[in-house]
Symmetry: C2
Subunit: 445 residues, 2 copies
């Protein structure tokens, strides 16, 4: 049924990740830690097979730890469950799992208090007893564990198996990404961690990004590469469709470098017109660099402004996501009502009457309006029907018109009918708009 899988390289060192939290299990919070830790482990050459997302029940956390021990992994990283509330139990559960008693680390308690005490000034109504209670709870640690200093208020832990016992070393990290990420470096530096990952394999990884083709075309290319004798089984190739772009990620051991290069050459030859990134950069970063005049043929810095309708601010939100965006983003208008298109984005109301608000003419007028209202070099106009209501036979839900206008009459305009939900249409449209701006800045006409 399949022409064959790409057989992955397997490292000598294996790890598992346990993400705890009922709020993550039920999706009220999106897990950012599992994938982030996965990437860090891969960079270290550690093979990762599973992320287990578990609720806050001790038996479920223990179940995941037991699974990883049974799978024979060398290292387990946990995130979450180190906070002050009653459902934060990870330290105790991991201690029990490793057969280690807990003790109060009084010096650690004092260091945490030095972090907490200023909160009493900031929140005068705060219950000082509650805070001291949280403080003490967070300073109780398993015997034999290495403590990782708190980034917020919760210390992390590296907990080895009991003396003489087999099993994985467990790295216990806090849930908030802004605490977990800075703490990772300290975890990696501990002797316990280093011991656990001795012998990890080196991997290389490359990402290619394409825009404007269906994923099935990549499948066909891979079949052709295989038929042409390229041993793709030596590579771990993953393709995925993300925000309207196809990403091809290839990971391999250094000895398969020439196999990768052969595969890479096939992609470049067959998909030259849609391959836009071979250095890991997103279209967001490329547009930012082009606007700064620091990429490809773009040697002149440009400012940009947006007039968007159906995307409702998301294109501007995406353009301003990068630090320093104020160097080139002057601003924009969200012209949701027809009246606003006229009053704030300088769209001639006759165009709306004649062509409708979702039309090539209005997209171009929005792009021109953005340029003139903000005095920007580049103007972008987006107008469409995000749904779920408002569609007609002639102009269905998902129809979006885009226009990008630059100096000297440069202009690119296109429409696309984006499938999916209101959220899909709005999000995907920001990708299409960025690619249009990229092409304009690269000089396509």
């Amino acid at each position: 049924m399949s022409t064959g899988e790409t057989r992955p390289p397997v490292s000598g060192v294996r790890a598992g990740i346990v993400v705890t939290g009922t709020e993550v299990l039920t999706g009220r919070v999106v897990d950012r830690n599992g994938p982030w830790l996965a990437e860090r482990l891969r960079e270290l050459g550690v093979d990762l097979a599973h992320i287990a997302v578990v609720g806050d029940r001790p038996q479920d956390i223990t179940g995941a730890l037991r699974f990883f021990r049974a799978e024979g992994v060398d290292l387990v990283c946990t995130s979450g469950g180190l906070g002050p509330t009653e459902d934060d139990l990870t330290a105790q559960v991991v201690a029990d799992f490793q057969g280690r008693a807990m003790h109060l680390d009084e010096a650690l308690e004092r260091r945490i208090w030095a972090i907490l005490e200023p909160l009493l000034t900031r929140w005068p109504d705060l219950d000082a007893d509650a805070l001291r209670h949280s403080n003490r709870k967070q300073a109780v640690v398993p015997d034999g564990a290495t403590v990782l200093e708190p980034v917020g208020t919760a210390p992390g832990l590296v907990v080895p198996p009991a003396e003489g016992a087999d099993g994985p070393t467990v790295v216990v990290l806090p849930g908030p990404p802004r605490e977990l990420q800075p703490m990772w470096g300290a975890a990696v530096e501990t002797a316990l961690f280093r011991d656990a990952v001795t012998g990890a394999t080196e991997y290389r990884q490359h990402m290619l990004r394409l825009f404007g083709i269906p994923e099935s075309e990549i499948a066909a290319t891979m079949r052709q590469a295989r038929e042409a004798g390229i041993p793709l089984d030596d590579l771990e190739i993953t393709t995925c469709l993300r925000r309207g772009e196809v990403e091809i990620v290839t990971r391999y051991e250094p000895r398969y470098q020439t196999v990768y290069e052969a595969f890479d050459a096939v992609i470049r030859e067959r998909h030259a017109d849609t391959l836009f990134s071979d250095d890991g950069t997103s279209v967001d970063l490329q547009v930012a660099a082009l606007l700064r005049g620091e990429r490809d043929a773009a040697t002149t810095a440009r400012t940009i402004a947006v007039a968007e309708s159906c995307t409702g601010g998301l294109l501007l939100g995406r353009l301003t996501d990068l630090p320093g965006a104020s160097d080139y983003v002057l601003g924009g208008v969200v012209a949701y009502s027809d009246d606003a298109k006229q009053r704030v984005a300088a769209v001639d109301p006759a165009l709306i009457v004649q062509h409708g608000a979702v039309s090539q003419a209005v997209a171009e007028a929005l792009a021109d309006g953005a340029r003139s209202v903000f005095g920007a070099d580049v103007g972008v106009g987006v107008t469409g029907i995000a749904g779920p209501g408002g569609g007609t036979d002639e102009k269905p839900v998902g129809l979006v018109w885009f226009s990008a206008a630059g100096p000297d009459g440069a202009r690119l305009t296109r429409s696309i009918t984006v499938p999916g939900s209101r959220t899909d249409v709005r999000d995907r449209s920001t990708t299409v708009a960025l690619h249009l701006v990229r092409r304009l800045l690269l000089g396509e006409r």
Copy 2:
């Protein structure tokens, strides 16, 4: 170390979820299926302990299935791996796991072709052979499985254990949420699914949302409730901090209704000033209903417009996220540069010179400007320093000023210093702004 966990109710029927895809494992795609399926299973009274996120390697998918079988679950749901590419192997892996051979379902192949054929018109360059190959792959199904009709092009499957064997029934669903979610209803209706979940326990669930207090205060309240004799162990209580709000989710069997009511009363009494939602509604939905004149004392519909700086379009993006937002959102301006604040949001440049762009005066001027420029009833102004650069001792990174202005001189203005990264500051600020608008619409002054 802890005053005790909340012991959760355990249903007689247990399930596991396997989310497949190296792109999910490595975080290039955020998993939306695991949490969504978790909620659906909980609604059915099925107890869920783990979501396993696994790469595309067959042995890793099998490892997760073996884990769930060893844990004794009755049902496993998988998502992903049904697509046309070579790394899409889930159907084969599940068939092998259940000890079932595969066969080509020719009628299914024809039904899938009827979906695929029109693509050849839409993408004239498409490789028809590649498409037929994908078609056939997706129509090869395990013996004895119930086929779930494709929503996209991939059929789902409900695959029972081999005749006479024990083990979970496996529901195989596609990865794209827009295909998985509509297919779920069909899966639940199959006889195989119904048999697997016979005897599930009923649960009730309530969510309370609070804004403006630290999570540790809830921990203190729970200790007090326990000391007052409320048996919280009969409830499964989860607290979490999400986008600046504290959520308390309580799940319990119907026989503990009075315990829940006692706990609920304690929260309402101690946190009356910060509890803003007891019916599951988000602040987004509340603001939308207030603007429509359909909630609380708000009987007059109002229009809204925004002038935002550091949030760069995200507040508008959030306001326009809800279907039908065009009924009350007129639009807004993202006034990133000082010049744009003056030209597009009608801010007196003297205010910027005198007070600085991040100041109470400019936030108020932006709110007024949004009202006047768009002719809206309510105007919102946001100006702050998202970072990582641009902070000073007096005005640090994270300082954001908010103002909401309504008819008859109504106005609320506040500042907050938001901790965290640029992304945190921008996202959290949209929450603060929505709460300010909510209070204004509720008549607070």
